[in-house]
C-alpha cells in the first residue's frame, strides 16, 4: 500500500516536471533508445523514482509507435526498481515493464524493458 501511494506521488512530481522542464518533455523530441540512458539524480527516493519516470516518458516518446489512443493511463511501481506503464489503445491496453538500477550515488539506469 505504501509503495502505491508513493508511486502516485511520484507521478505528480513527474507531471509537474513535465510542465516545468520542456526541454526534457517537449513533443517530437528525438531521444536515444532509453535502455542506453541513465540519469544522475539526487539520492532521495522521491528524486530517484522521479528520474525513473522521466526515463520512462522519454522512452515512450521515442519508441512507442502507436498514435491516437488514450495516452498513458497508469504508471505503477510494482517493485522497488520495477515500473509498469499502461497506454490506452483501441482494442487493448499496451503494457510495458521497465526495470531500473538505483545506484548508491543516486544515478538511475534503465536496465531492461521499454516501449519498443
Amino acid at each position: 500500500m505504501g509503495s502505491r501511494k508513493f508511486g502516485l506521488g511520484v507521478l505528480g512530481v513527474a507531471a509537474v516536471m513535465a510542465l516545468t522542464v520542456p526541454s526534457l518533455f517537449g513533443p517530437g523530441q528525438n531521444v536515444a533508445r532509453a535502455t542506453e540512458i541513465s540519469k544522475e539524480c539526487q539520492m532521495e527516493a522521491l528524486e530517484q523514482t522521479a528520474c525513473a519516470i522521466e526515463l520512462i516518458l522519454q522512452d515512450l516518446r521515442a519508441n512507442y509507435s502507436f498514435s491516437g489512443g488514450g495516452g498513458i493511463s497508469n504508471i505503477h511501481q510494482t517493485a522497488t526498481t520495477t515500473f509498469v506503464v499502461t497506454v490506452g489503445r483501441d482494442e487493448s491496453d499496451d503494457t510495458f515493464t521497465y526495470e531500473f538500477a538505483f545506484a548508491p550515488d543516486g544515478s538511475v539506469t534503465l536496465i531492461s524493458g521499454g516501449a519498443k
Binding site: 509507435s65 498514435s67 491516437g68 488514450g70 490506452g88 483501441d90 482494442e91 487493448s92 491496453d93
Partner: protein, 301 residues
C-alpha cells in the same frame, strides 16, 4: 441460380443469374449487426463510461443518444464500412464449377465479392454480432473500444501510427472492426513477434513492416488479398454443395467418373483472390489457366 448459406458470423448469397460473357457470379456476404445504445446512468443526459467497459480503466464523458444521432450514426457506420469492403475482391474459379453457356461457348465464371451490412437493434432475430455503442461527449477525443464495444467516433479518421519514413498511418476504426467481425485477425498473427497462441491484440500484431502497418487489419486502410478469406470460405461451401447436388442427381449417375473428378477438383480448388477485375473465362481459357483481366471481344449469344 441464387443460393444462400448461413454461417455463424455472416450470411452468404451466391447469384449466378447475373453471369454473362463479361459478368461474373456475385457472392454477397451479409453481416447483421445488433447495435445497443449505452447511455448515461439513470436517464441522465451526461455521464461516464470506462474504457473497454472495464471499471478499472479510465472513465470517459458520455452523452445520451437521441433518436436522430443514433439513426445517423448507424447509417454512417453501415454505409461507410460496407462501401469499404464491397466489391474489392475477385475469386478465380479454379474449381470449374457454376459453368454456363452463351451460344455455343461454355463459360467459367469467377466470383465478384460483395458486402452488405444490416444494422439492427440489439437482440433482433438473426443478429450475427451484438455491439454496444457509447456516444462520446464532444470534449472527449478517444474511448477504449473493442470488437463488441464501439464509440461514436470510431467512424472518424484517426492517426493510428507512423511508418518508417515518418508518414502518418490513418485508419477508420470501424472498418478494421468489421474485418474482425468477418473473421479476420490482425495482420501479423502467426509471425514470430505475434504468435497465434498468445494475446493477438499486442502492439506488434498490428504490423512491424510498413506494408503490414498499413494493412486494414494493422493500423491503416490497405486491403491485402488475404482479406478475401471470408469470401473464399463461403465460395468453397457453395462449390462443394454444387458438386454434391450434381452427384446426387439420378441423371448424373450415368457418368460417375467425371463427377468424381469434379468433386475432387472442387475440394482441391484454391479460389485465388485478386484485387482487380477478372472476367469470366471460356472453358478453354480456364483449362489453360489463363486469366482475363481486360474486356476482350466475345461471340454474341
Amino acid at each position: 441460380m441464387k443460393k444462400s448459406i448461413s454461417f455463424a458470423t455472416f450470411n452468404a448469397e451466391l447469384n449466378t443469374d447475373v453471369c454473362d460473357a463479361y459478368n461474373n457470379a456475385e457472392l454477397t456476404l451479409t453481416l447483421n449487426l445488433g447495435f445497443t445504445q449505452i447511455n448515461p446512468a439513470a436517464g441522465a443526459d451526461t455521464g461516464t463510461y470506462h474504457d473497454y467497459g472495464n471499471a478499472a480503466k479510465p472513465a470517459r464523458k458520455i452523452i445520451k443518444w437521441t433518436p436522430g444521432s443514433w439513426a445517423e450514426w448507424k447509417t454512417n457506420f453501415v454505409t461507410t464500412a460496407a462501401a469499404y469492403w464491397n466489391g474489392k475482391f475477385w475469386l478465380v474459379n479454379d474449381a470449374g464449377v457454376f459453368t454456363y453457356m452463351i451460344g455455343t461457348e461454355t463459360y467459367v465464371p469467377n466470383v465478384y465479392c460483395k458486402m452488405k451490412i444490416v444494422a439492427q437493434e440489439g437482440g433482433a432475430v438473426g443478429t450475427h454480432h451484438s455491439i454496444s455503442v457509447v456516444r462520446l461527449d464532444p470534449t472527449e477525443k478517444w474511448f477504449g473500444s473493442h470488437s463488441t464495444l464501439y464509440d461514436s467516433k470510431d467512424t472518424n479518421w484517426n492517426k493510428k501510427g507512423t511508418d518508417s519514413h515518418g508518414k502518418k498511418i490513418m485508419q477508420q476504426a470501424h472498418v478494421h472492426e468489421v474485418g474482425h467481425l468477418l473473421g479476420l485477425g490482425h495482420v501479423d498473427i502467426g509471425k514470430a513477434h505475434c504468435p497465434a497462441a498468445s494475446d493477438t491484440n499486442l502492439g506488434p500484431c498490428y504490423g512491424v513492416s510498413d506494408e503490414d502497418k498499413n494493412s486494414v487489419m494493422g493500423q491503416g486502410m490497405k486491403l491485402h488479398i488475404e482479406h478475401a478469406e471470408p469470401w473464399r470460405t463461403a465460395i468453397r461451401s457453395f462449390a462443394l454443395e454444387d458438386v454434391l447436388m450434381a452427384n446426387s442427381s439420378p441423371t448424373n449417375l450415368l457418368m460417375p467418373t467425371s463427377r468424381l473428378f469434379a468433386f475432387s477438383s472442387s475440394l482441391l480448388a484454391a479460389w485465388p483472390a485478386k484485387l482487380s477485375r477478372h472476367y469470366p473465362r471460356t472453358l478453354a481459357e480456364a483449362r489453360l489457366g489463363l486469366n482475363v483481366t481486360s474486356r476482350v471481344a466475345r461471340a454474341a449469344a
